[in-house]
Subunit: 338 residues, 4 copies
């Protein structure tokens, strides 16, 4: 951290700042310049806040130069994290494909889709039992009944289940069924929920918030890691911008950025990222080409009848075509698929 002062700052003010730095267990270094006086801070600056100093007399600017996250950072752990989920690996050479409907709608629907996906070699089924909806009048999911259906499907097809946790009250029941607990974009900074899900020890799929920076995302992951749970999968699913021709703006820049700063695996969700079914395959390909560890894609056997997100879901045949393209793409980016 660096503090900038005017050249003619009174000695008294300078000393007060240095005292505060030392009181916080760090070291202060005066660097006189030709137009400003700088005070460099070294030591464990992670407990310091820029504002602690910004508010002090004579201070013109405070600049932080290191990241606030620790456990999830590449500095803490150089090699990629690979998570083993019942034998399927996330974060390694093999691409992870999580597919399924937005929500569990009924027995026939979820069994039908599970069967299709199983036959396509998919190992992870996504489907929401609890659904976050911006309107209270939209379909909110089958809730406990949905979890029961997921448990049955899991038993029948041996698929790993990915499903969302919305409410701390449901943590136990969701953790019983889910192999990966999803934290949705709107809850990315629901810190109470992050701590709760961290404590379960289950693998967590953490989706980026609509207006979250990559640093925010990594800080939210840090909340989970701080519970001694390192089984975290990040997910880029689009951010909110001024563009109106797509549902969100899929920010694939985040993929190489996360790969540089963190050891955690990152998936891309092109379904939410663009929000238009016919354009999902293009963005799925782009996500893998950008270096993602896999995809999370909405697939429905009858998109036009889906109770939610049908418009952005792929029909089975389109999904199969995409898988074939992905199989060709994988070796180009030093990955494997299927």
């Amino acid at each position: 951290m660096l503090i900038l002062l005017e050249l003619d700052t009174p000695r008294e003010d300078i000393e007060k700042i240095k005292e505060k730095i030392i009181a916080k267990g760090c070291n202060a270094h005066e660097i006189p310049g030709s137009s400003k006086l700088a005070i460099g801070i070294t030591g464990s600056t992670s407990n310091l806040k820029e504002d602690d100093f910004r508010i002090m007399k004579s201070v013109q600017e405070v600049v932080r130069v290191s990241h606030k996250y620790k456990l999830v950072s590449r500095e803490m752990k150089k090699e990629d994290t690979v998570i083993d989920i019942n034998g399927s690996k996330v974060g390694g050479k093999e691409l992870t494909i999580i597919a399924g409907p937005c929500s569990v709608e009924n027995h026939d629907q979820i069994f039908k889709i599970a069967e299709i996906l199983k036959n396509l070699g998919i190992q992870f089924l996504r489907a929401g039992a609890f659904k976050p909806r911006s309107s209270p009048y939209s379909f909110q999911g089958l809730k406990e009944e949905g979890l029961d259906l997921l448990a049955q499907v899991k038993k029948e097809f041996g698929l790993n289940i990915v499903t969302e946790l919305l409410n701390p009250y449901n943590t136990k029941e969701v953790a019983e069924v889910a192999d990966i607990i999803q934290i949705g974009a709107r809850n990315m900074q629901n810190f109470a929920l992050l701590e709760e899900v961290g404590k379960t020890g289950k693998t967590v799929l953490l989706k980026r918030g609509l207006s979250a920076t990559v640093e925010d995302l990594l800080l939210s992951a840090e909340y989970i890691a701080a519970q001694n749970n390192f089984n975290i999968i990040l997910c880029e699913r689009g951010i909110r911008t001024f563009e109106t021709s797509t549902r969100n703006t899929l920010d694939l820049n985040s993929v190489p950025v996360v790969k540089k700063y963190s050891h955690l695996p990152i998936l891309v969700d092109p379904s939410h990222g663009i929000g238009i079914g016919e354009k999902v395959p293009a963005m799925a390909m782009a996500g893998i080409a950008a270096g993602a560890d896999g995809l999370m894609i909405e697939v429905h056997h009858k998109p036009e009848e889906a109770l939610s997100d049908g418009f952005q879901s792929l029909a089975p045949d389109t999904f199969e075509n995409l898988l074939n393209k992905l199989k060709q793409l994988a070796p180009v980016v030093d990955k494997t698929l299927g």
Copy 2:
């Protein structure tokens, strides 16, 4: 809602669309044009989703023309909602000023600030016991101990307490102390929490999310109202944009927009909205000039020693100067203060 088709759409496709409309309990009207065929939908379209139709064969575009919220809309209730909190009115002619520190830090701090505010005629004290922080290593609040201190302060000074609820597990204890329960920006779409707080029947202060549109904000308010709790105060606190010279971009446009579409009162939080203490008074004045029902402002007796948000907090004398300015401004916008 309006559905647009190509002029040469096969009769069969048109009929399928009309059947779906009728099956949903609405009416369909064909409107042939010179370059497109439109189908207008009338009746109670609130249960329809654009995507239900967007995904159908031959459909080119689906356009929604009415709002998705009901209970909080101006159409439902023409006159402004005025909420009575122990005799203090929010949403009427008198401006509401909620002031206090970001968080309860200790007995001396909260009692000192409460005394100052009481002497300035303030009726609402804000202070967090549970604090949402983007980093797990930042100060998270005194929690239960903070609530206890707030209860003491309330008893001592007769101030109404505004404090944040983060976790459904703490609902009961927060509701016991708080006169207004705050839902923070990061939890604006934490629907589980919205339902929980709605059920308490307590007045809720709902802050706009960092990337929430005004419509999103009103839909979140609708979640609370759907629990038969109409004691809702909205709060504009800035959105996230590309601008980096301020913490957030205070979107005062939202004030006249909310006033047009909803009967609920709206406050402005200039402290988070610009994030720089010395510039808070300018934005506080602007908020009231834009037509807000009041302000929520961070005030600390020693901003430079605050455990959180000191940089954007006002010292008591600056706050008092602002109050004097606000008293002059109030009659210009047909309001009163103090």
Copy 3:
């Protein structure tokens, strides 16, 4: 500027960095810390680019700490710039109100509006002869004929004329008629045009671009000032965000930020800033309350018949009511009006 390196950076790399700093005429200061090595740069760093160093071996981070603009900065000139335009002052105690239609439409229209404004005490008439329109099929202005009409109106009513320059080819003719030459938001970074308009010596009204930061705006003003033309008026007119209920997001935070960092006057354009006529007065009031030096407002004698921007224009009676409110507001913020 500050350069951060790993603690174990080879001596060779460090020396190369220091050599480059010295070669650029600055001084280098090594600051060893407990986890990083910092090199502080002092001297005239305005010619340095962060990327010059960011790209060098072993460099982890480069941080700039001072602004890139000079002439328009508050550091260069402490007191506010007040511009005298034929006896009317912009930037002083008296609020500046620029009003008029989006575009000159015909003789009757511009004379009628000019008469109304003159009678209301307005000294600055805005009206476009050349109009920038996002579609080539929209009305592009009367061009030369529009300038002629403005010249006639100026002679008849003695109003100062504010009109936009779009194309360097038209500089001479626009400069002959205009008392203030407007550079529109879409041309804020049309540097060729900025230099051209700077050379005229005329007062320039520079509107903030749709995605320009305040720093970008000040850098564009610097382009004009670099031509030895300090008669620059800045104008906040809204930025582009995800919000869709308003045309733009009026960023009033920019007002106190500009006031802090620059000596130039700043006006607010609430007409474009919210884009909805009925809500313009609220935002006009907010702009002045935030500390702006004045307003630029679209007024049309028959908004519903305007060839452009009628929807955001005020009718004369609404504008008159607003002026009355502004007269009450002015003394509250230590300004005067009329």
Copy 4:
């Protein structure tokens, strides 16, 4: 276009609206519903503005349902536009790779880079002679001298030249040297320049503005096409969002969106799109995987010595590695390279 009214709208208001529609040469259709009255407008609605009606009495909402661009739309021309530039095709099966330094710096630099690129099989050399820079104190390019060097390089190596036009005054000289004239992001809505460049008949590379929607981009292309110049190449180069870890947010969603609505080719510029050299290859791959017709990439033989944009430039060996990867990727997305 659709106009919505209250059910109890007076007959007189309805008739006025219908008269206005008919006066504009369109047809009006009344569609009575159970809660609103709609008036559907058919015919050539491209001359209508929503605001023409929005401002009329009793009108609640006006909704536009068709695009405002014509000539560049897929509706106007179903098949992809393929542009032939001295035998090299842009927009067809073969991927287009435009490479080169940000700016022409001197004879040795541009000849050295041209030679490297030529040897790698590149057919298009990019390099700026006129540079738009946000600060007037940054390097602005060699200008005329730079154009001369480009002319020499073109003669020597037979490379097609891509260079930017900033100022209408330089149109002739730029058009003489350039095979493709670039219009930069900051000038995307400099309509005077668009018309000027349209008239040259030369191929134009139009970069998306920092805050331009895809529709804005296509409308700007329409300005060029309206000059009877259909040789237009679009370029996605990143938009401005709240994310600060990258220079811009590369919006690859725009690729399939443009492909759907327009027949024009689109390239991706990952250098500006992410702004960090080491991450450019990942985004280049992603761009092609998303379906782009090619790439525009900054390459410099000594990035660390570049006068501008060195930080985001690729060194020759990195660029060669990327080309090899792209050659493997091309057939996966039904393209060819080299």
